[in-house]
Every structure is written in structure tokens, then in C-alpha cells.
């Protein structure tokens, strides 16, 4: 399944300073669908280059990271259980505090 991933607010530094990633993700063994939970595992395995604790905590993202699926807060569509569809856009953005 083709997905567009985007990292911002400094998270891109954990992904080789590249903000946008076009990726193809297959459902994990025995699953029919790619959920946000399996996407996070896939990212950890395949994309994340350094300091995983700056992106993940337990089986989710670390505090201070907003997750947006097709420009909507993942809180509105089921968080880790969100089922992704072909061509979905997922944005991970670290909240900023500077001024």
C-alpha cells in the first residue's frame, strides 16, 4: 500500500533530514490491513535512523507529537487502530515551543 509520510517540527532530523517520504507498506504477517499501530512498527524498522525515543514511546508516538491522517488528528479516527487506505497521507509533527 502506497502512503505518503511526512515528518515535521524537528522530527525530520530522525529521518535523515528528509520531510516527505513516499513509501510502500505491506500488512504485517497474518493481517489484512495496515493500521497506524503497524505503520509505527514499520517506520521503526525501516525508516527511523536514530534516537527512537525521540519518536516513539511504548507502542505509540512520544508525548508532544501530533499525528494527522489526511490532515485530521488521529484522535478523530481511532489512533493506533486507524486503518489506513491506499494513498493516505500521514503527518507526524512535533509541537513547537519557540517564539
Amino acid at each position: 500500500m502506497h502512503l505518503t509520510l511526512e515528518f515535521g517540527g524537528g522530527l525530520e532530523l530522525l529521518f535523515g533530514s528528509q520531510k516527505k517520504h513516499e513509501v510502500d507498506v505491506v500488512p504485517p504477517n497474518g493481517m489484512k490491513e495496515v493500521t497506524m499501530e503497524s505503520l509505527l512498527a514499520w517506520i521503526k524498522e525501516n525508516l527511523l535512523k536514530e534516537r527512537p525515543e525521540m519518536f516513539l514511546k511504548e507502542n505509540s508516538v512520544r508525548p508532544g507529537v501530533l499525528v494527522l491522517v489526511n490532515d485530521s488528528d488521529w484522535e478523530l479516527c481511532g489512533r493506533l487502530e486507524t486503518v489506513l487506505e491506499e494513498k493516505d497521507e500521514v503527518i507526524f509533527i512535533s509541537t513547537l515551543h519557540g517564539g
Binding site: M54, G64, E75, I91, G98, G99
Partner: protein
């Protein structure tokens, strides 16, 4: 509007004529601005355009709060200050600039930071609060105090080449804690003084913050509640994303909040967020 029957003076009618001409703005909205008040927490990169544009458009009373003095490395982005004000309190420099543009408004300068002990008392005196601060501890405090005092909060942030903007605690929208119940790890709390910032980026975010404050005060347009504007200046791409609503479990704005006018003044925001409120 020239015929009178409104609360604007002749000087105000002349000064604000280009806004009074707007059919969707007009006298009513301008009167609400002139009678309204905004507290700006931070007179730095974000606070500079917020203060300039709110003073210019005629917000009746501006509170400007900042403990710091102007330094030369502020000047690449904090355009309300000048070389002559280096060493001066930022609130003094910013107040002077606001009154130079519009002497008909009132400006109150707070030459100290927002603290748990003083937040509610000060915030209650204003209609709208703008978070133009530079640290995560203050961001939790401003949000909590706005919830307890029942004030809408226009929150902006900028770092590096990016900016973020939303309105909290407005019309069933979330507060800062609804979005971020747990503070981020300390390593994720970089400031402009650590990580740098392209000067014009807080300029853009701050000008948008002034717009949102104007919309809320004047009751014109749809404020950015339950939505966030995300700016990537390098690609000139701007996402407006949809955020969750108010959370029933939120410790600040939920059904049975742990944070209230009794507990807030004693809450340890710096400890909670492992982040100091000042650079010192």
C-alpha cells in the same frame, strides 16, 4: 457610518476608515475592537507583530508581558524593538512602539514572566490571551490559566523554518492539555536560542495570531479553533489540519478538572514539564 449613532470618535472614524469601509467588518466590529483587551505573553519574535498589528487596528487595551531585556541577537526577528532599545526591558520598548503607532489605546506593561501565582489575576483582566512565549512550561501555564479564567487563547510557536498556530479553549475546541496531556521529553523542547529560527517565520505566525485575536474580539469570521495551521516556510506549504475537540478527561478543561483556581497557583509548571520558564 458618517452619520453617527455609534460609539466611535471622529478621530477613530478617520483612523480606522479603511476597516469601517468593509461591509463584513464595519462600525460594530471596530467598536468591539476598541472596547476589547488582549494580553500578549511574550514580546519577542511572535509578540512583536502581534503587538504592532493589534495596536494599529485599535484594540482598546493591550497587556504586554515579558521579563527580558532587548539583546542585539533579538533584532533579526523582533521587529518591534530597535538598536536604541538594546538593554531596555522588552515591555518598555514594545509599549513605546505601540503607542507611537496609536496613542489612543492603553498599553499595560508587565516586566516579569507569567507565573502560577500571578497568572489568573492578570489573565482575568483581558478578553483574549495570546501565547507568544518561548518555552513549554509557560505554554502549559497560559493554557491552564485561560481555561480556569475562561478566556480564549491564541497560541503560536515558531522554530527553525517552521511555525504552528491554533486557538485553544474556544467554543468546544480543545485546550493545550487536551492535545498534549503529557509533556514532551526535555530533549524535544528546543528554543530559538538553541536551535535557531529564521526571523520572518515568527513574523508570519505572529501576524496570523493578531488576525485570530482580531476575529475573536470583533466576532467576525471563524477563529482557528479545533484546527491548526502548520507552516513549512521552505516549501511555502501551509496545512490547515483538523484537531480533536475538548476532551472529557482533560485535567484542565474536562468534566472534573484537577486544575482549578485553587490548585493552579501551586502547580509546579517547571517541574511538570522539566523545562525552565526563563533562559537564565
Amino acid at each position: 457610518w458618517a452619520a453617527g449613532g455609534h460609539g466611535l470618535s471622529r478621530d477613530q472614524v478617520q483612523r480606522y476608515s479603511r476597516q469601517l469601509l468593509l461591509p463584513s467588518f464595519g462600525v460594530g466590529a471596530q467598536e468591539r475592537l476598541c472596547e476589547g483587551s488582549v494580553l500578549i505573553v511574550g514580546a519577542g519574535g511572535l509578540g512583536s507583530p502581534v503587538a504592532l498589528y493589534l495596536a494599529a487596528c485599535g484594540v482598546g487595551c493591550l497587556g504586554i508581558m515579558d521579563p527580558d531585556r532587548v539583546e542585539v541577537h533579538n533584532l533579526h526577528r523582533q521587529v518591534i524593538h530597535t538598536e536604541a532599545s538594546v538593554g531596555e526591558l522588552k515591555v518598555a520598548s514594545a509599549s513605546r512602539a505601540c503607542l507611537a503607532i496609536n496613542s489612543s489605546i492603553k498599553v499595560v506593561a508587565y516586566p516579569f514572566g507569567l507565573a502560577a501565582k500571578n497568572a489568573l489575576e492578570i489573565i482575568r483582566q483581558y478578553d483574549v490571551v495570546v501565547d507568544a512565549s518561548d518555552n513549554v512550561a509557560t505554554r502549559y501555564l497560559v493554557s491552564d490559566a485561560c481555561v480556569v479564567a475562561n478566556r480564549p487563547l491564541v497560541s503560536g510557536a515558531a522554530l527553525g523554518m517552521e511555525g504552528q498556530l491554533t486557538v485553544y479553549n474556544y467554543s468546544n475546541g480543545p485546550c493545550y492539555r487536551c492535545l498534549f496531556p503529557t509533556p514532551p521529553p526535555q530533549a524535544a523542547c528546543q528554543r530559538c536560542s538553541d536551535a535557531g529560527v529564521l526571523g520572518v517565520v515568527p513574523g508570519i505566525v505572529g501576524t496570523f495570531q493578531a488576525l485570530e485575536a482580531i476575529k475573536i474580539l470583533s466576532k467576525v469570521g471563524d477563529p482557528l479553533s479545533s484546527r491548526m495551521l502548520i507552516l513549512d516556510s521552505m516549501s511555502s506549504r501551509i496545512h490547515t489540519v483538523k484537531l480533536r475537540g475538548k476532551s472529557a478527561e482533560c485535567v484542565a478543561c474536562g468534566g472534573s478538572p484537577a486544575i482549578n483556581h485553587i490548585t493552579l497557583p501551586n502547580f509546579d509548571y517547571e517541574g511538570f514539564s522539566s523545562s525552565p520558564m526563563s533562559d537564565a
